[in-house]
């Protein structure tokens, strides 16, 4: 589904990603871990198409297409979803209206008929329950006045609405209490299907109790320096990254 080859990227002339090789197949869950500042969010942003970053080398194939030549919105419509580490507030734009436009755009891209108003409302109700999102929040402005936990739940709610093929969740677990973590974790698991894939970026093992990864990668200074299975996350939780970093440097 996703094939990343020797990806280099810079921001303001500073190289952040320094040769990432990474591939994801349908049905898989990948976890990306690593110390702060190692480039995890940058990697996610580059996949999503954030224009702040410049790709200087390498290529990314998504379902056989050159991902890097696609616009941000076409990547999204083609099934790439980024759960933001810091979801953005959009005053005056209601969740319902925002999602309606997003969903119809995606359906148009995929050659599907637009949803009727009642189908859309039913879907909103149904998907809000996946993450136990207060239905009142869906009539409010996007993320405005949402608590930290609500913002993160709202990301997963949007994921449930948009049914991505490849979801990239950037520290969706940070700032969540135990209950919210469980809701988000089980929510993501409920959305798992054999034809979609998930990349979970996290600092902690605890989210991975719910979203069990097939592979765990460690990103450090813009490179994947180690990959393993789910036990690697447990070991990192216990022992930290130093043993890996020492080995690498």
């Amino acid at each position: 589904m996703l094939e990343v080859k020797n990806l280099h990227a810079t921001v303001d002339g500073k190289e952040i990603l320094r040769g990432i090789n990474f591939s994801v197949k349908a049905g898989e869950v990948h976890a990306i871990m690593g110390p702060n500042g190692s480039g995890k969010s940058t990697f996610a942003s580059v996949l999503a198409g954030n224009e702040r970053f410049t790709v200087t080398e390498g290529e990314v194939l998504y379902e056989g297409h050159d991902l890097l030549s696609m616009s941000i919105e076409d990547r999204a419509r083609a099934g790439i979803f980024l759960g933001f580490q810091y979801p953005v507030e959009i005053p005056g734009v209601s969740m319902a209206n925002f999602l309606k436009v997003a969903l119809q755009e995606k359906r148009k891209y995929q050659g599907l008929e637009p949803l009727s108003a009642s189908e859309f409302l039913r879907m909103m109700r149904d998907r809000a329950s996946v993450v136990e999102l207060d239905s009142k929040l869906t009539s409010r402005a996007v993320n405005e006045g949402f608590s930290g936990g609500e913002k993160k739940k709202n990301e997963i709610f949007q994921m449930a609405m948009l049914e991505p093929k490849l979801a990239i969740l950037d520290e969706t677990d940070s700032g969540l209490d135990i209950d919210a973590l469980r809701i988000v974790g089980t929510g993501v698991t409920k959305l798992k299907r054999p034809d979609n894939a998930t990349i979970v970026i996290t600092h902690y093992q605890r989210l991975l109790d719910y979203i069990v990864p097939d592979y765990v990668h460690v990103l450090y200074k813009g490179r994947i320096i180690y990959s393993g299975d789910k036990d690697l996350a447990l070991k990192l939780e216990k022992e930290g990254y130093d043993w890996l970093i020492n080995q690498y440097e």
Partner: protein
């Protein structure tokens, strides 16, 4: 247009003010003969005031209230004074808002009469009210307009023959809004239009007023109108005004509100289109415990100029005022907000809030924003803020990541930006209409 070349030359030799004074002198007898005494009463003093004040030049005049916008150029044309309503058009262009409908054309009520409801409410033509209710009109007319301190207010007083009159007696809570449809221009001449409006909301009454100003694309007009709004003790009134004028329409309007104790007045003014729209919004908070809300939206594109000058006068203790204005300027459009807040020496425990946020979309667009605080009391909470910015790139990225196009993301953000103000109206169904009109304009910015 009118005038031979010799006429033009002669006109050029006189000062701009003198041309208007000469026009008034020529009209004087006809005006006097056509009006009830109440409307004639202030004309002479207004003329003298106009002679003294002149038309303020950009960057000067009236305590720099007219600092940012050149109005003199708009007054330089050869205008023909509108003397009656234009022929009605077949198609309806009104706002979709149920209520007591009043149709104005070039400052004249299409139905020159005063309607009377069973609950004592009266509404309709000011000229008719001045005939039928001379004492009531005379008691309030001209009390608030400042026609001796403001040149444009003076012009309206000099020439007005009609306008809208609304009277809601004490204790009456009128359930239906008054919906005023005001049409400018006739598509033939360069018209000058004058009108004065008087709304009286007596003690403990409640009322809502919706005003829709519009003109066709080919109609040229210069409109000078003033409105006096008397809000008595404990009365609650809301007023929403929408300007949807054509590219050849200039409007200078003044709204003068006086609030007595524990009253509440909310206004929302939306400038959607027009060549040059200048609004003077003045509220005098004369009683204790008064609440005033003044909100506005400007969507200026092309070469449009929208200019709001607000003036909130806290004269006694315990009043609160809340101003929120949002503007978007695109193309070579200009959006101006200057907000004066005056707090009298003994107006303690005043709470005054003022906010102006502007989006500047293009290099040719222009935004001016200026708070003017004159605070003479010491126990006052006053906060004001102004921002001039661009669309938020983070929000646009976020929306595009969900599949919205760049254009849709920009538009949605702009819709949201003004919706926060538009949705403040409590008039049934009106917020949706305003949102739709604003969205139409944003799509064309």
């Amino acid at each position: 247009m009118t005038g031979s070349s010799t006429n033009m030359n002669r006109a050029m030799e006189r000062s701009l003010e003198q041309q208007w004074i000469d026009r008034y002198r020529a009209d004087h007898d006809a005006l006097a003969a056509a009006s009830a005494p109440a409307l004639n009463a202030p004309r002479k003093a207004a003329l003298e005031a106009f002679e003294r004040l002149g038309i303020p030049a950009k960057g000067s005049g009236n305590g720099d209230r007219y600092h940012y916008t050149d109005l003199r150029a708009a007054f330089a044309g050869e205008y023909r004074r509108a003397t009656e309503a234009a022929a009605p058009k077949g198609s309806s262009t009104g706002l979709d808002c149920p209520g007591h409908r009043i149709e104005l054309s070039n400052g004249f009520c299409r139905e020159a009469r005063l309607y009377r409801l069973d609950n004592g409410v009266m509404y309709g033509s000011l000229a008719a009210a001045a005939q039928e209710e001379p004492q009531l009109v005379a008691r309030y007319y001209g009390e608030l307009t400042q026609s001796e301190e403001d040149a444009f207010s003076a012009l309206a007083a000099m020439w007005a023959l009609d306008g809208v009159f609304i009277y809601v007696p004490a204790g009456v809570k009128e359930p239906l809004p008054f919906v005023i449809e005001s049409e400018l221009g006739d598509g033939r001449d360069l018209l000058s239009v004058y009108a004065r409006h008087l709304y009286i909301f007596e003690r403990g009454s409640a009322a809502q007023v919706v005003l829709h100003h519009r003109s066709d694309g080919d109609a040229s007009s210069l409109s000078c109108q003033t409105r006096e709004v008397v809000v008595d003790e404990e009365a609650h009134a809301e007023m929403v005004e929408v300007y949807q004028l054509g590219p050849q329409a200039v409007s200078v309007s003044g709204s003068y509100v006086r609030q007595a104790g524990n009253s509440r007045f909310e206004s929302l003014s939306v400038s959607l289109s027009g060549s040059l729209l200048r609004h003077n919004l003045v509220a005098s908070l004369d009683g204790r415990g008064v609440e005033n809300h003044m909100n506005g939206v400007m969507l200026a594109g092309g070469t449009e100029t929208f200019d709001y000058a607000t003036d909130i006068r806290h004269r006694v203790p315990d009043g609160s005022s809340h101003e929120q204005f949002k503007s978007i300027a695109a193309g070579d459009g200009t959006a101006v907000f200057s907000g004066r807040i005056y707090v009298a020496p003994d107006a303690q425990r005043t709470n005054a809030y003022q906010q102006n946020n502007a989006l500047l979309l293009t290099p040719g667009a222009h935004v001016d924003t200026k708070p003017q605080l004159e605070i003479y009391a010491d126990d006052v909470k006053c906060s004001h803020g102004a921002t001039v910015g661009q669309l938020d790139p983070e929000a646009i990225y976020y929306m595009r990541q969900r599949g919205l196009s760049l254009d849709e993301a920009r538009r949605l953000q702009m819709y949201g930006f003004v919706r926060e103000v538009l949705d403040k109206t409590r008039i049934e169904g009106l917020a949706e209409t305003l949102d739709r009109l604003a969205e139409d304009k944003i799509d064309r910015l």
